[in-house]
Protein backbone atom coordinates (compact mmCIF):
# COMPACT_ATOMS: atom_id res chain seq x y z
CA UNK A 1 0.00 0.00 0.00
CA UNK A 2 1.42 3.34 -0.98
CA UNK A 3 1.55 6.26 1.40
CA UNK A 4 -1.16 8.01 -0.64
CA UNK A 5 -3.57 5.10 -0.20
CA UNK A 6 -2.96 5.08 3.52
CA UNK A 7 -3.72 8.79 3.75
CA UNK A 8 -6.98 8.57 1.79
CA UNK A 9 -7.99 5.55 3.84
CA UNK A 10 -7.36 7.56 6.99
CA UNK A 11 -9.68 10.33 5.85
CA UNK A 12 -12.49 7.94 4.93
CA UNK A 13 -12.37 6.60 8.47
CA UNK A 14 -14.12 9.77 9.58
CA UNK A 15 -17.19 8.90 7.53
CA UNK A 16 -17.98 6.44 10.29
CA UNK A 17 -20.09 7.96 13.08
CA UNK A 18 -17.84 6.35 15.70
CA UNK A 19 -14.69 8.13 14.58
CA UNK A 20 -16.42 11.35 13.68
CA UNK A 21 -17.79 11.49 17.23
CA UNK A 22 -14.26 11.76 18.57
CA UNK A 23 -13.14 14.22 15.91
CA UNK A 24 -16.15 16.47 16.49
CA UNK A 25 -15.52 16.33 20.23
CA UNK A 26 -12.00 17.62 19.76
CA UNK A 27 -12.87 20.27 17.19
CA UNK A 28 -15.92 22.06 18.48
CA UNK A 29 -14.27 23.84 21.45
CA UNK A 30 -11.74 25.38 19.04
CA UNK A 31 -14.47 26.66 16.76
CA UNK A 32 -16.35 28.03 19.75
CA UNK A 33 -13.26 29.85 21.01
CA UNK A 34 -12.53 31.23 17.54
CA UNK A 35 -16.10 32.42 17.28
CA UNK A 36 -15.90 34.19 20.64
CA UNK A 37 -12.68 35.96 19.69
CA UNK A 38 -14.01 37.03 16.30
CA UNK A 39 -17.23 38.21 17.85
CA UNK A 40 -15.32 40.32 20.34
CA UNK A 41 -13.27 41.92 17.57
CA UNK A 42 -16.32 42.39 15.35
CA UNK A 43 -18.40 44.00 18.07
CA UNK A 44 -15.54 46.27 19.05
CA UNK A 45 -15.09 47.45 15.46
CA UNK A 46 -18.80 47.62 14.74
CA UNK A 47 -20.07 49.29 17.88
CA UNK A 48 -17.11 51.40 18.94
CA UNK A 49 -14.86 52.17 15.99
CA UNK A 50 -17.11 52.39 12.96
CA UNK A 51 -18.40 55.91 12.27
CA UNK A 52 -22.01 57.05 12.01
CA UNK A 53 -23.76 56.54 8.71
CA UNK A 54 -24.69 59.74 6.91
CA UNK A 55 -28.20 58.61 5.95
CA UNK A 56 -29.20 56.14 8.59
CA UNK A 57 -27.57 57.44 11.75
CA UNK A 58 -26.78 54.87 14.41
CA UNK A 59 -29.53 52.49 13.32
CA UNK A 60 -27.32 51.11 10.56
CA UNK A 61 -25.32 49.25 13.23
CA UNK A 62 -27.98 46.55 13.11
CA UNK A 63 -26.11 45.50 9.95
CA UNK A 64 -23.55 43.83 12.21
CA UNK A 65 -26.09 41.22 13.27
CA UNK A 66 -28.57 41.33 10.40
CA UNK A 67 -26.11 40.58 7.57
CA UNK A 68 -24.34 37.71 9.42
CA UNK A 69 -27.63 36.02 10.33
CA UNK A 70 -28.96 36.36 6.78
CA UNK A 71 -25.76 35.06 5.21
CA UNK A 72 -25.68 32.15 7.63
CA UNK A 73 -29.32 31.27 7.02
CA UNK A 74 -28.56 30.83 3.33
CA UNK A 75 -25.13 29.21 3.77
CA UNK A 76 -26.38 26.66 6.30
CA UNK A 77 -29.22 25.63 3.96
CA UNK A 78 -26.78 25.08 1.10
CA UNK A 79 -24.43 23.06 3.32
CA UNK A 80 -27.40 21.09 4.64
CA UNK A 81 -28.50 20.34 1.08
CA UNK A 82 -24.92 19.33 0.20
CA UNK A 83 -24.83 16.85 3.10
CA UNK A 84 -28.24 15.61 1.97
CA UNK A 85 -26.98 15.06 -1.57
CA UNK A 86 -23.95 13.17 -0.22
CA UNK A 87 -26.22 10.99 1.87
CA UNK A 88 -28.44 10.15 -1.07
CA UNK A 89 -25.48 9.47 -3.35
CA UNK A 90 -23.30 7.41 -1.00
CA UNK A 91 -25.94 6.10 1.42
CA UNK A 92 -23.87 7.18 4.43
CA UNK A 93 -25.45 7.49 7.87
CA UNK A 94 -23.33 10.42 8.95
CA UNK A 95 -24.50 12.70 6.13
CA UNK A 96 -28.07 12.54 7.32
CA UNK A 97 -26.94 13.18 10.89
CA UNK A 98 -25.00 16.30 9.84
CA UNK A 99 -27.98 17.64 7.91
CA UNK A 100 -30.20 17.10 10.96
CA UNK A 101 -27.64 18.83 13.16
CA UNK A 102 -27.56 21.90 10.92
CA UNK A 103 -31.30 22.42 10.49
CA UNK A 104 -32.20 23.96 13.89
CA UNK A 105 -29.29 26.40 13.73
CA UNK A 106 -30.30 27.43 10.22
CA UNK A 107 -33.90 27.94 11.29
CA UNK A 108 -32.78 30.06 14.23
CA UNK A 109 -30.62 32.27 12.02
CA UNK A 110 -33.45 32.68 9.50
CA UNK A 111 -35.82 33.77 12.26
CA UNK A 112 -33.22 36.17 13.64
CA UNK A 113 -32.66 37.57 10.16
CA UNK A 114 -36.36 38.31 9.82
CA UNK A 115 -36.60 39.81 13.31
CA UNK A 116 -33.47 41.99 13.05
CA UNK A 117 -34.60 42.98 9.58
CA UNK A 118 -37.94 44.12 11.00
CA UNK A 119 -36.19 46.05 13.76
CA UNK A 120 -34.12 47.75 11.07
CA UNK A 121 -37.01 48.25 8.71
CA UNK A 122 -39.24 50.03 11.21
CA UNK A 123 -37.01 53.08 11.73
CA UNK A 124 -35.73 53.12 8.13
CA UNK A 125 -38.77 52.32 6.00
CA UNK A 126 -41.48 53.03 8.55
CA UNK A 127 -42.88 49.50 8.34
CA UNK A 128 -42.24 46.36 10.34
CA UNK A 129 -42.84 44.20 7.27
CA UNK A 130 -43.16 44.60 3.52
CA UNK A 131 -43.99 41.91 1.02
CA UNK A 132 -41.03 42.44 -1.26
CA UNK A 133 -39.15 39.63 -2.98
CA UNK A 134 -36.26 39.28 -0.53
CA UNK A 135 -38.32 39.27 2.67
CA UNK A 136 -40.90 36.92 1.17
CA UNK A 137 -38.28 34.44 -0.04
CA UNK A 138 -36.48 34.58 3.34
CA UNK A 139 -39.82 33.77 4.99
CA UNK A 140 -40.19 30.83 2.61
CA UNK A 141 -36.71 29.69 3.70
CA UNK A 142 -37.91 29.65 7.31
CA UNK A 143 -40.88 27.48 6.32
CA UNK A 144 -38.53 25.16 4.43
CA UNK A 145 -36.37 24.70 7.53
CA UNK A 146 -39.45 24.09 9.68
CA UNK A 147 -40.81 21.62 7.13
CA UNK A 148 -37.47 19.78 7.17
CA UNK A 149 -37.57 19.48 10.96
CA UNK A 150 -41.26 18.50 10.97
CA UNK A 151 -40.73 15.78 8.35
CA UNK A 152 -37.74 14.46 10.30
CA UNK A 153 -39.69 14.14 13.51
CA UNK A 154 -42.77 12.54 11.95
CA UNK A 155 -41.00 9.58 10.33
CA UNK A 156 -39.97 6.99 12.87
CA UNK A 157 -37.31 5.13 10.92
CA UNK A 158 -34.23 7.39 11.01
CA UNK A 159 -32.82 6.17 7.69
CA UNK A 160 -36.05 6.79 5.84
CA UNK A 161 -36.43 10.13 7.57
CA UNK A 162 -32.93 11.17 6.49
CA UNK A 163 -33.57 10.27 2.87
CA UNK A 164 -36.98 11.92 2.72
CA UNK A 165 -35.58 15.09 4.30
CA UNK A 166 -32.70 14.94 1.84
CA UNK A 167 -35.13 15.03 -1.08
CA UNK A 168 -36.98 17.91 0.55
CA UNK A 169 -33.76 19.85 1.18
CA UNK A 170 -32.67 19.44 -2.43
CA UNK A 171 -36.06 20.53 -3.77
CA UNK A 172 -35.94 23.65 -1.59
CA UNK A 173 -32.37 24.65 -2.36
CA UNK A 174 -33.61 26.49 -5.45
CA UNK A 175 -34.96 29.13 -3.05
CA UNK A 176 -31.48 30.22 -1.94
CA UNK A 177 -30.36 31.78 -5.23
CA UNK A 178 -33.78 33.44 -5.42
CA UNK A 179 -33.18 35.10 -2.06
CA UNK A 180 -29.66 36.09 -3.02
CA UNK A 181 -30.48 37.57 -6.41
CA UNK A 182 -33.91 38.95 -5.52
CA UNK A 183 -32.48 42.42 -4.99
CA UNK A 184 -30.97 42.28 -8.48
CA UNK A 185 -33.94 40.80 -10.32
CA UNK A 186 -36.72 42.88 -8.78
CA UNK A 187 -37.16 46.48 -7.66
CA UNK A 188 -37.32 45.84 -3.97
CA UNK A 189 -37.37 48.06 -0.94
CA UNK A 190 -34.46 46.06 0.48
CA UNK A 191 -31.13 47.63 -0.43
CA UNK A 192 -28.99 46.05 -3.08
CA UNK A 193 -25.64 44.36 -2.66
CA UNK A 194 -23.02 46.75 -1.36
CA UNK A 195 -20.20 44.26 -1.37
CA UNK A 196 -19.04 42.51 -4.52
CA UNK A 197 -15.90 40.69 -5.55
CA UNK A 198 -15.22 42.87 -8.57
CA UNK A 199 -16.05 46.42 -7.56
CA UNK A 200 -14.83 48.55 -4.69
CA UNK A 201 -17.27 48.40 -1.76
CA UNK A 202 -19.66 51.27 -1.30
CA UNK A 203 -19.25 51.49 2.44
CA UNK A 204 -16.51 52.78 4.74
CA UNK A 205 -13.64 50.42 5.64
CA UNK A 206 -14.41 49.93 9.37
CA UNK A 207 -18.04 49.15 8.56
CA UNK A 208 -17.03 46.64 5.91
CA UNK A 209 -14.44 44.94 8.03
CA UNK A 210 -16.70 44.84 11.05
CA UNK A 211 -19.36 43.15 8.97
CA UNK A 212 -16.92 40.62 7.49
CA UNK A 213 -15.52 39.73 10.93
CA UNK A 214 -19.03 39.28 12.33
CA UNK A 215 -19.99 37.01 9.41
CA UNK A 216 -16.91 34.87 10.12
CA UNK A 217 -17.74 34.84 13.85
CA UNK A 218 -21.28 33.59 13.20
CA UNK A 219 -19.93 31.02 10.77
CA UNK A 220 -17.55 29.60 13.38
CA UNK A 221 -20.40 29.59 15.90
CA UNK A 222 -22.60 27.63 13.49
CA UNK A 223 -19.84 25.05 12.91
CA UNK A 224 -19.27 24.68 16.66
CA UNK A 225 -22.97 24.23 17.47
CA UNK A 226 -23.48 21.79 14.56
CA UNK A 227 -20.51 19.66 15.66
CA UNK A 228 -21.72 19.64 19.27
CA UNK A 229 -25.25 18.75 18.23
CA UNK A 230 -24.16 15.99 15.84
CA UNK A 231 -22.35 14.30 18.72
CA UNK A 232 -25.64 13.97 20.57
CA UNK A 233 -27.39 12.79 17.41
CA UNK A 234 -24.71 10.14 16.84
CA UNK A 235 -25.19 8.84 20.37
CA UNK A 236 -28.97 8.82 19.98
CA UNK A 237 -28.88 6.84 16.77
CA UNK A 238 -25.99 4.49 17.53
CA UNK A 239 -26.94 3.85 21.14
CA UNK A 240 -26.93 0.09 20.73
CA UNK A 241 -23.40 -0.08 19.33
CA UNK A 242 -20.60 -1.36 21.55
CA UNK A 243 -18.43 1.70 21.17
CA UNK A 244 -21.19 3.85 22.69
CA UNK A 245 -21.07 1.85 25.91
CA UNK A 246 -17.35 2.42 26.12
CA UNK A 247 -17.76 6.12 25.33
CA UNK A 248 -20.17 6.53 28.23
CA UNK A 249 -17.72 5.32 30.80
Amino acid sequence: MTAMNVRIGTWFKYASPQYFYGLAGQLWPWFAALSAVLMGVGLWVGLLVAPTDAQQGQAYRIIFVHVPTSQMSMLIYVVMAAWAALGLAFNTRLSGMMASALAPTGAMFTLLSLVTGSLWGKPMWGAWWVWDARLTSELILLFLYLGFMALQSSIDDPRRADKACAVLALVGVVNVPIIYFSVVWWNTLHQGASVSLSKAPSMAAPMLWGMVVMVLAFWMYAVAVALARVRTIILERERHADWVQHALE
Binding site: L48, V49, L112, R229, L235, V244
Partner: protein, 80 residues
Protein backbone atom coordinates in the same frame (compact mmCIF):
# COMPACT_ATOMS: atom_id res chain seq x y z
CA UNK B 1 -6.51 47.47 7.36
CA UNK B 2 -6.60 50.47 9.65
CA UNK B 3 -8.56 50.42 12.84
CA UNK B 4 -8.13 53.61 14.74
CA UNK B 5 -7.83 53.40 18.48
CA UNK B 6 -10.01 56.45 18.90
CA UNK B 7 -13.52 55.57 19.90
CA UNK B 8 -16.37 57.09 18.08
CA UNK B 9 -18.36 57.90 21.22
CA UNK B 10 -17.76 60.66 23.66
CA UNK B 11 -19.76 59.26 26.57
CA UNK B 12 -21.40 56.05 27.67
CA UNK B 13 -24.89 57.53 27.68
CA UNK B 14 -24.41 58.52 24.04
CA UNK B 15 -23.33 54.95 23.28
CA UNK B 16 -26.37 53.59 25.10
CA UNK B 17 -28.79 55.92 23.34
CA UNK B 18 -27.53 55.05 19.83
CA UNK B 19 -28.77 58.32 18.42
CA UNK B 20 -32.34 57.61 19.47
CA UNK B 21 -32.44 54.15 17.94
CA UNK B 22 -31.54 52.35 21.16
CA UNK B 23 -34.61 50.10 21.16
CA UNK B 24 -33.96 48.86 17.63
CA UNK B 25 -30.19 48.46 17.83
CA UNK B 26 -29.98 46.97 21.32
CA UNK B 27 -33.11 44.96 20.65
CA UNK B 28 -31.47 43.35 17.64
CA UNK B 29 -28.16 42.66 19.36
CA UNK B 30 -29.90 41.48 22.52
CA UNK B 31 -32.24 39.06 20.76
CA UNK B 32 -29.39 37.67 18.69
CA UNK B 33 -27.24 37.11 21.77
CA UNK B 34 -30.18 35.59 23.63
CA UNK B 35 -30.96 33.19 20.78
CA UNK B 36 -27.37 32.04 20.43
CA UNK B 37 -26.91 31.47 24.16
CA UNK B 38 -30.28 29.68 24.36
CA UNK B 39 -29.34 27.42 21.48
CA UNK B 40 -26.04 26.47 23.09
CA UNK B 41 -27.87 25.72 26.35
CA UNK B 42 -30.46 23.59 24.53
CA UNK B 43 -27.73 21.56 22.83
CA UNK B 44 -26.05 20.96 26.16
CA UNK B 45 -29.34 20.05 27.82
CA UNK B 46 -30.16 17.58 25.07
CA UNK B 47 -26.81 15.90 25.50
CA UNK B 48 -27.12 15.71 29.28
CA UNK B 49 -30.63 14.24 29.06
CA UNK B 50 -29.40 11.63 26.62
CA UNK B 51 -26.43 10.73 28.81
CA UNK B 52 -28.73 10.32 31.79
CA UNK B 53 -31.02 8.12 29.73
CA UNK B 54 -28.22 5.97 28.33
CA UNK B 55 -26.62 5.47 31.72
CA UNK B 56 -29.89 4.26 33.24
CA UNK B 57 -30.68 0.69 32.27
CA UNK B 58 -34.04 -1.08 32.19
CA UNK B 59 -34.18 -1.73 35.92
CA UNK B 60 -33.63 1.87 36.72
CA UNK B 61 -30.09 1.37 37.96
CA UNK B 62 -27.67 4.12 37.09
CA UNK B 63 -24.31 2.90 35.84
CA UNK B 64 -21.34 4.83 37.12
CA UNK B 65 -17.86 4.05 35.79
CA UNK B 66 -19.08 0.70 34.45
CA UNK B 67 -20.30 -0.45 37.85
CA UNK B 68 -23.70 -0.16 39.34
CA UNK B 69 -25.02 0.24 42.80
CA UNK B 70 -27.89 -2.20 42.34
CA UNK B 71 -28.24 -5.81 43.30
CA UNK B 72 -28.16 -9.02 41.22
CA UNK B 73 -31.28 -8.03 39.23
CA UNK B 74 -29.34 -5.32 37.49
CA UNK B 75 -28.08 -6.52 34.11
CA UNK B 76 -25.13 -4.15 34.26
CA UNK B 77 -23.71 -6.32 37.02
CA UNK B 78 -23.24 -9.15 34.52
CA UNK B 79 -21.22 -7.14 32.03
CA UNK B 80 -17.45 -7.65 32.06
Amino acid sequence: MQIGCSMHWSSFSEFWAMGGYAVYVWGSFGLTALAMVAEACLVRHRRQALMRELRTDADGCVGVDGRTECGERCINAQRP
